[in-house]
Symmetry: C2
Subunit: 429 residues, 2 copies
């Protein structure tokens, strides 16, 4: 009888679990200091919920089944539909802007690839109830605040920022109409991932006129607002486009004064595949561009309405654990997560097990991580176990007192046992 | 269009999420200080894994489905089979005893009841690789260490401790043979939950001779080892039974010197339904006995072998979040979890948004939870928002400096802006 883990899932042995906790704890700490509060929903939702934003075809990409009541349930592949459902249910009582974050466990029924698993964790940051580009700046700042906290520098990661309204305007100018806009956006989203010939094929198949591709690519390749202006000042001078440009330029200005401008650059090749984005869009990549996106997001003002709620501004991003972990490993930024005990309690003489247990009980109750050997054995062997368990101190009990030994320095203090148990934190520092 | 949460699942709005985090954080902190390290497995496992310990009938109690490769997958209803699979895979490299804990998210396809949901969290503590009753004592101590940390006292919760080998011996003496032992144990496990008549019916249906029920009940009703001895010293004097009694008496002695004896009592009506327990068994209840068990566990030395591994001692327990939460609420022990900001940054004059953003960026980078109003509005309104957000300080920026206001005391310190941004922790204490 041999049992294996399901393909594309992970067994979190203690080392790996420590890393998962490091990522989740950092996400939480950074979210809180940026003024977000945490929420979560259930892993299981009605299947219908997921087709609202992503279309019926999503059903083939997630784990779903029919429950005993005959209802189609699905394991969530993302938290955004749940967010929309939950916010809509309390929309009148929640003070705005609503700044929520979550670290959901998510599932998708695809074949696993590098950085893309069937079960994963994703940090989600959302601001609902603000139309201001300040809210977009807040989200991007929060993403960078986290990456910087993890030790990544502007030479390691970059936030590439585009504009959905400008991209839509460029596609309209190229002759794409509303009925094929969604397909055209999805095609354009693929451009950075494929060769030019392959892109041309995809684009034409999606209804983008072949003779407009050069102009479209020239727009996407502009790296600054000035470059865009030089390329085509007539395009830019249209009212909606002027607005979009003003938003981008405010955004970059805000990010600059918040101290993270170095991490950010304009990149009109950032499109985001999904139809529902309405404003600024962005993706975070390793600077070398050799990995999948670490994070992606943008403004989606139609979200709540799509789920039966009111028209309310919304913006946010998601950051998965799998690519982030690969990036941190590549950059040598995985922290040393060796845990350990504060104190290992040793019976230095026979007949003292009760004293060991009493000491361990008292230390733990006082918040000190304490343990002892399962075997009554020689002090030397117990000290070895203390070292293997990465204990900072050993407390060697004898009938006439305790030797508190600092295992890093070897220094030992001898104390009466009552005194040690009364104020252990005076010795276990 | 109206979307609802699936029945028996929970939406974790921020208040509820804070409570969930409080439980999980306390479980983690207590586990670590008791010398356990954390692991987790995937939510999805092959369905087969769950029938090993619980029989084929488990399939009807969990969410399962067939994946695109035609394999039967299930959402885990418990973590123990995953624990056994993972430990078996590394059994030769893991130093023993293995002290692991987990806080898995679990699922069951039952109709929800009070304290029993379709999606829940459960704290699991296990020690593998020790036959000593010390390991059982460690697990029970850890459970109590947690409940005590949460503010529950011996008058609130009680650990009821029984013995699987003594119960099996009592059933054998009553005439139950090996082939019906499992059913007889399951029947006995129901006794505390039903009326005497109903129990008699269940017991007889499970193959327990009707004329032995009085004797069996008298055994189960013994509250001390002395009472047991008075009742039937012949039964007790058998070798296996002597061992079982010695284990119980050592266990109680250990728990006493560890300082948690007040929480523990012998109770031979504790059986645990599952066949696989082999030693001491226990359940934690509210002292009034009006709720389901808060936790349950015991020794299960056959666990690893059952899953294709070696014969190794194992003991542990699980504690769910749902009943614990009800109990804490009933006892008035839910902590005040109102989070909040360290500092709310306010523009005290027009034209200072850039300064606000700079300050917020700097404070957050320094680990200070900081936020600001989405609206450029009067200082009074911004102070109101600071209070609503539960901020400890407000930093009111003006062209000539910052007023750092303690929002609890009303005290205000005026500082040059550069000095504040240089050492914010000198003012935000």
């Amino acid at each position: 009888m041999r049992f294996k883990a399901v393909k594309g899932t992970r067994d979190f042995y203690p080392d790996r679990m420590a890393l998962r906790n490091y990522l989740a704890d950092t996400w939480r700490r950074v979210s809180l200091r940026n003024g977000f509060v945490e929420f979560d929903g259930p892993v299981l939702e009605y299947l219908d919920l997921f087709s609202v934003k992503s279309g019926q075809e999503i059903a083939s990409q997630l784990f779903s089944f029919t429950d005993r009541g005959g209802r189609a349930l699905a394991m969530r592949p993302e938290i955004t539909p749940t967010l929309a459902r939950m916010v809509n249910a309390q929309i009148n009582s929640l003070p705005r802007p609503i700044k929520w974050f979550s670290v959901p466990r998510l599932f998708r029924a695809e074949n696993p690839q590098k950085g893309r698993l069937r079960e994963f964790f994703q940090w989600n940051i959302d601001i609902i109830g603000s139309d201001s580009v300040l809210a977009d700046a807040e989200c991007i700042f929060t993403a960078i605040d986290c990456l910087r906290e993890m030790g990544l520098k502007p030479e390691d990661v970059v936030v590439r920022i585009g504009s959905r309204p400008l991209t839509v305007a460029a596609l309209k100018r190229a002759g794409v109409n509303d009925s094929t806009m969604e397909a055209a956006l999805a095609a354009l989203d693929k451009r950075p991932k494929v060769a030019p010939d392959a892109f041309a094929e995809i684009a034409v198949a999606a209804g983008i006129p072949a003779d407009s591709l050069d102009e479209l690519c020239a727009f996407q390749d502009c790296k600054t607002i000035d470059a865009l202006n030089n390329l085509d000042s007539v395009f830019l001078s249209k009212e909606g486009n002027l607005n979009a440009i003003a938003h981008l330029s405010d955004l970059l200005q805000y990010l600059d004064v918040m101290g993270v401008g170095d991490y950010c650059r304009l990149d009109f090749s950032i499109v985001r595949g999904l139809a529902y984005y309405t404003g600024i869009v962005y993706e975070v990549f390793d600077a070398a561009g050799s990995l999948r996106a670490v994070a992606g997001g943008g403004r989606y003002d139609n979200l709540l309405k799509l789920f039966g709620g009111p028209e309310v501004g919304a913006t946010g991003f998601g950051m998965g654990d799998a690519v982030l972990e690969i990036l941190l490993a590549e950059k040598g930024k995985l922290p040393d997560l060796a845990g350990g005990l504060d104190c290992f309690v040793i019976d230095g003489e026979a007949g003292l097990l009760d004293k060991v247990l009493e000491a361990v009980g008292r230390l733990r109750q006082g918040g000190i991580a304490a343990d002892f050997s399962a075997k009554r054995q020689a002090v030397g062997k117990q000290l070895k176990e203390a070292n293997r368990r990465n204990a900072r101190y050993a407390a060697i009990l004898r009938a006439d007192g305790v030797g508190v030994k600092n295992l890093a320095t070897g220094e030992q203090t001898n104390v009466p046992i009552g005194e040690f148990l009364e104020k252990p934190k005076a010795y276990i520092i």
